[in-house]
Symmetry: D3
Subunit: 331 residues, 6 copies
Amino acid sequence: MKDIYIADLSAFEDGKLFDGFFLVLGKQHRTTKQNKPYLNLVLGDKTGQIESRVWDPGDPRIAREFERGDLVKVRGCIQRFDDRMQLKVDQLRRAQTGEADKMDMLPATARDVGELWRELEKSVASLTNPHLKTLLEALLGDAAIARAYREAPAARQLHHAWLGGLLEHVVSLLGLAERVAAHYPMLDRDLLISGVVLHDIGKIRELEWEMGFDYTVEGVLLGHIQMGVDLVEKTITSLPGFPDRLCTLVLHMILSHHGKLEFGSPKLPMIPEALVLNFLDDLDAKMQAAAIEFERCAREGRAADELTGKVWALDQRQLLNTKAWLKESGK
Amino acid sequence: MKDIYIADLSAFEDGKLFDGFFLVLGKQHRTTKQNKPYLNLVLGDKTGQIESRVWDPGDPRIAREFERGDLVKVRGCIQRFDDRMQLKVDQLRRAQTGEADKMDMLPATARDVGELWRELEKSVASLTNPHLKTLLEALLGDAAIARAYREAPAARQLHHAWLGGLLEHVVSLLGLAERVAAHYPMLDRDLLISGVVLHDIGKIRELEWEMGFDYTVEGVLLGHIQMGVDLVEKTITSLPGFPDRLCTLVLHMILSHHGKLEFGSPKLPMIPEALVLNFLDDLDAKMQAAAIEFERCAREGRAADELTGKVWALDQRQLLNTKAWLKESGK
Amino acid sequence: MKDIYIADLSAFEDGKLFDGFFLVLGKQHRTTKQNKPYLNLVLGDKTGQIESRVWDPGDPRIAREFERGDLVKVRGCIQRFDDRMQLKVDQLRRAQTGEADKMDMLPATARDVGELWRELEKSVASLTNPHLKTLLEALLGDAAIARAYREAPAARQLHHAWLGGLLEHVVSLLGLAERVAAHYPMLDRDLLISGVVLHDIGKIRELEWEMGFDYTVEGVLLGHIQMGVDLVEKTITSLPGFPDRLCTLVLHMILSHHGKLEFGSPKLPMIPEALVLNFLDDLDAKMQAAAIEFERCAREGRAADELTGKVWALDQRQLLNTKAWLKESGK
Amino acid sequence: MKDIYIADLSAFEDGKLFDGFFLVLGKQHRTTKQNKPYLNLVLGDKTGQIESRVWDPGDPRIAREFERGDLVKVRGCIQRFDDRMQLKVDQLRRAQTGEADKMDMLPATARDVGELWRELEKSVASLTNPHLKTLLEALLGDAAIARAYREAPAARQLHHAWLGGLLEHVVSLLGLAERVAAHYPMLDRDLLISGVVLHDIGKIRELEWEMGFDYTVEGVLLGHIQMGVDLVEKTITSLPGFPDRLCTLVLHMILSHHGKLEFGSPKLPMIPEALVLNFLDDLDAKMQAAAIEFERCAREGRAADELTGKVWALDQRQLLNTKAWLKESGK
Amino acid sequence: MKDIYIADLSAFEDGKLFDGFFLVLGKQHRTTKQNKPYLNLVLGDKTGQIESRVWDPGDPRIAREFERGDLVKVRGCIQRFDDRMQLKVDQLRRAQTGEADKMDMLPATARDVGELWRELEKSVASLTNPHLKTLLEALLGDAAIARAYREAPAARQLHHAWLGGLLEHVVSLLGLAERVAAHYPMLDRDLLISGVVLHDIGKIRELEWEMGFDYTVEGVLLGHIQMGVDLVEKTITSLPGFPDRLCTLVLHMILSHHGKLEFGSPKLPMIPEALVLNFLDDLDAKMQAAAIEFERCAREGRAADELTGKVWALDQRQLLNTKAWLKESGK
Amino acid sequence: MKDIYIADLSAFEDGKLFDGFFLVLGKQHRTTKQNKPYLNLVLGDKTGQIESRVWDPGDPRIAREFERGDLVKVRGCIQRFDDRMQLKVDQLRRAQTGEADKMDMLPATARDVGELWRELEKSVASLTNPHLKTLLEALLGDAAIARAYREAPAARQLHHAWLGGLLEHVVSLLGLAERVAAHYPMLDRDLLISGVVLHDIGKIRELEWEMGFDYTVEGVLLGHIQMGVDLVEKTITSLPGFPDRLCTLVLHMILSHHGKLEFGSPKLPMIPEALVLNFLDDLDAKMQAAAIEFERCAREGRAADELTGKVWALDQRQLLNTKAWLKESGK
């Protein structure tokens, strides 16, 4: 059905008209600095997204009624500004049922979600603390939560911003936490594992991914930390005999996992498990960012002795790919 | 019954033995830098508190079993180090029923709590938004919450650290909020008033004042912001038909009232009412701190052209009492 | 006379020539990165301003002699870069007497300046401290100062950047200060009101608005705080019997009103009145910024559940319009 | 007349009574933590100062009427707390005329003030800009200003906190500025020299040294930067024909000489002369601090390879005395 | 021989004379605030240290010639100031050969140094990169370096401040690094292991532990990062065929291991191995600090629901011992 | 040979083809946001540089094999985006031997390098400390080092970014240091002078200027501070009898010359000479930045009362040219 993808557009000539189906990821009424109204759209599919402009929103060929999250058919052309590309939209209407498939419209994890989910369930099954085990089973056994947990991206943009990203992030962290728990006998391993599974669960409420990835208004006002605490607390309330102190510790793990007040945690980690959760979450995010950047450089054919671009998750630092650099010199 | 108060001790000579009843506000097992164990106590009554030492905890005249929150009878004497005073405890036992009255043991507001409570109820009664009114009535109508709200101090130390302090703080803020709401038509007055009433309600869980003023362990791990949100959210859940958006806004008011991430708010104020609540809470705290400092200086007989001591709530700034200074020069 | 306004230009096609009269708000000799000289102009009228370029300043159709502040007639055309618009100037000469009216050239307050001025005078008349009353009357009774005070914008850009903006800002603050003074008996109300009237008076020297809104060189080197202090101090010197201490306090109000050293106040507020002035000035600026942003969003037709753009005065925070959001859900 | 000096007291035994004449440098009504009133005095003479206590201010042998700045005769004894010493005062009365000499009571520069003054005058005489020369002559020719300039300390404590300290500091800086001006042809040497002479002149108003070294209340509220600007501006106003721009630059030098907003300069240095003044003032302060610290270590007999104590002016850094360390190893 | 240890002194009465042998850990000529010279000593043995004072250094019973690092015999008594204890020294002479044993004088690791060393050697033996293996073998095979590496403390105070502390710290980190390297295939495991072994090697030059634990002057001026880089670089220079790039990476690991410029690393980690080394070094330090604090609390008999004291390595945060707290509630 | 220079291009029309020889200063494989590969080149010669694009790298007229540092012949045309200019490359091949001269390709100091070198040698010759003199002679007598020292730029961009820039910067600083050393007898003048000569010597390794100015990978990972320390240390090792302490001090001067940890110095200045070196290096950089900015303004014909652009080296501050501003008003 869908025959033109965002990824194809770079090969198109400026000004040449084409038709295509896309998802409306953003729609904003704007005015130029000289007060002329226009529509600023973001259109996307699973291969990417493109900024788009409707310069004359009053044109009868532009649908009056369409919103973020709608599938639309557009006619327009590409315009280039140096290395930046824009879609100038001349005609736009909502797609009719059956004309386009929503599955084609959002990026998704390359991993097998079923397999990731089984790894998560294996971790839960390995818990020996009955209360924590029951808590996790109750949450992940809730059909709505489970579906959301499998689908949710880990972020609107930046790290793991794709369908299944949250699950992928948690499973990766579980492996690391397991190893570190084995190194420190002081740690309550079950509490740490539970913290890993639950720390970002509020993102299934903070984010919204039906219509592209974005924050919900509630998510902006409350944040995923508070939303996760709320979800877990309500579930615990429904579990008879869940110890009060254990409840406090689980909530503290979620509240403190950003590690600093200025990163939005209202409490600093004050138990060893919370300390470790914060460290590993941070380390894993940075290692993933490095890996992604190294892949991008390889894809772009950069030389082994060229530094990467500035990595956002590492304070705009540039990195060097150790193995590639050493290997090249060994030739 | 109680015939010796903390406030009297400053007149006592060093080393002279006396007997008295006090509340144990703190009890810590400590060792000197050379590893000799001793007990570090804080004893108090409604007129103040005094650091106390049991240098030989193994002495048979020192009770084995007593804890923070117990009423005790001690025999000991005063020791002075420059302007600092300490109580050296030679004998200590738990008070027997009827020997001492707990009401004598903690400082309390000088205001009439009943009257403060009526002012609070008047504000609630004035709300026109039925949902907010019902919410506040439900919370303040809960006997346990109402009792705690009337008793709780506003802090462990620093501002309003006395029984009834929370209520006193809220009532003062209500008056200010009312005036400012009248100045800005943009504001939803009922939401602002509700935010004032609820912003610190978590302190009835974060703090504990039966045994002196201290944080509960849960309070330290979760904080009054989270505890307040939890309390309000659970109450709202029990109210049929409470609008979701209004719930989000109320919770946002509580979450954001510290105004900065680094002050422990996980979210910044993002609606006008939250912005105003944060400003007024901050302003009122500073004005109270100034007023208290001016009173202290007057009590100490300082000259009008002497600056105050460093005020903690104002970043250790010193202040000048405008009216006193101008008046003096006018003589 | 003037028949083409900046606000009209957005409807013009690219490249189509037109003639118009504008005020030269900025004129800079620049070179491209490759060292070719050009003129970078800012042309404006009361409906807005537009960046303009003279790519060939040596062209005989471009006047040699014209400066910032001159009225000019230009012939040129619009060029667009995405949502940005520029005026390419082909011909330019100074307007002849009578060809254009300076009143058409700068934005001005929508309020009635005479009425604002009467509100200010009413506040002054209400003072009971004779020295402060005399001081304010002397300043506002000076014809040159009064004219400047009525005309001055409150800023070069950002808040209240229009003719009459300073007066509008002060009158708004007077209302708020009056209410807060009534809440705190500790405050010297007359000193606070005087502080409100005088805190920004240096802006009539720091800014210059004959030729568009800009800082004077003296303003850049000394700042409106110092310039205001100087103006007030010289006036006080001319008033026999003005008390020394009162003079010190008035100057301290001006010096400290930015509230922090890093915001350019050389002294922190050290009296209650200065503390309150700083808080209210800050709060009012933020509330105005919110109001303006909400208006812009309404004008642009944004949905009630869309957050505003990033608000500069609130550290780039986005806001939600409480009333609109609640109202929408109530439908 | 005065036969016991502060410097002698360290040899006195604890508890042995003695009589002596001192200047009251500080007098504060205090209460112990248990609310017993006492007097906290600082007594001093030119060899140092000592904290003193009147534990029973109601004792008839303690004068009712005496203030900071009075010469008093006290009877008391030394009390030691580890390496800290305190004077316990049993009797105190104001000295009678002729009993004690104020010249004995405050520390003063070791340099010859007349000679320092002549160096300053030589710098002024060397100026070629007639306006700046006239300005400096007018200020230094004012008898009251000149006397204050010769007497004033440069600070209440820390650097150059002794009579004549301001003059000594300025003369030292003149030599350095002269050298640096010769290195940079870009600099207006006369403006730089004038800035050196005037930058701290407000200290003759901010500080008060008749009764020990302290800030005046006006000094605390306005600061020496503002007070210096005011003094210079009023003098310039009295000089016919002084160019406006030159006036602005001179005031800018004073305003900006602390170099950073957070150090209390309301403006950053924006001309080369102001930039250099700030650098040299800072460098010279640090070099003086190092020199004083090296002298103290030598006096205390520290080994050459021992680091100095923490130097306040260098952010609590410890230093090594290069020459001493190298010399020692060369033995 | 040695029959009185520092740890015993807490049981001694104030003022009672005793004789003992100690190591001089610090000796400073000081003067009281009133300029009387005295000696400030720190005396220690393997059980602790005590601040000591010679109030009359001129007394003939006090040896003229003795320095930091000498064994001395002193006669004196204990003086207490609240919970602080001081040794007042009346007599002091250098110990004669055979009177005291230096092994009794410094704290040492509780682990078996030989065993720790074998673990280190096992890690080195496991390397597969021949150059890195040769480098580590060359360094650890140098008798002087090996002896220092086995003896050195990891710090002057704070973490691992005892003989063998450096080795203990490195071995602990090796275990953690091994686990994390197994989790991230991206990592060059040999480079990471080498970084762990070498990152703090400069401490064998920066610190000095013959005479107590202190920084050398060279250590203060250059730091262990630079000293470690220098040592490793010189060793590499002596190894023919060591690849230049590998050398650069090894040095970069050492240079960047503090992770932030403001922590004294002149370069931020820019390769994955350096990133991980910094994270693990930081995490392990914090976990050790938590463990030590929990032990101290257990030793002091604190209740399970009492928070620990403020932990320096965790920004003065207080911690809760998860396992103890949960266990207690389970009773 | 070379007949078209970068500086000439600004006069070229858009789209008009031309041929020219340039140095490849940068070559990066990039993709547009839509994933189409292109080459991003920086081409330069001694008159400047220009961003260039090869939009179709697969075109047979574009050489496959060419790298940064190669001389190339290109055919292309200019494209303008407002005041920005780009070279669109249609054909590109490596220059053949003799077609172009590398001396034409990089900017160089306007000063006579031979003369600068003689000034440097004069300073070295003036040293009286034989060890320092020998050290400097050894370094500057090394042919490879001397050549690099004469050629190296002082930075990749910003200050002194041209051939000979390092030498020019050092010679300027020598004059300033000489003057300041004469003012402070405390300073070891020879150590200060040596510090000036050596502080940036690592830049001959950190930077690379054969192929344009850039950091080497080693330079990025180690930095010029570490590289300078290494170079100096190795030279000292080869000098018999060089005193250890003097070596430590010289290295400390290099290590600490950035003055703050956050600027990349792993140690703060702890000796007076290091303190002065840091101050003068900083002051001179700022004065040079001001001078360059004033020259640019003069060249652009800006009015004397117009502030400069934002100066990077002065935290984006704008400056006023004192002399020009005063002179203009004097007209």
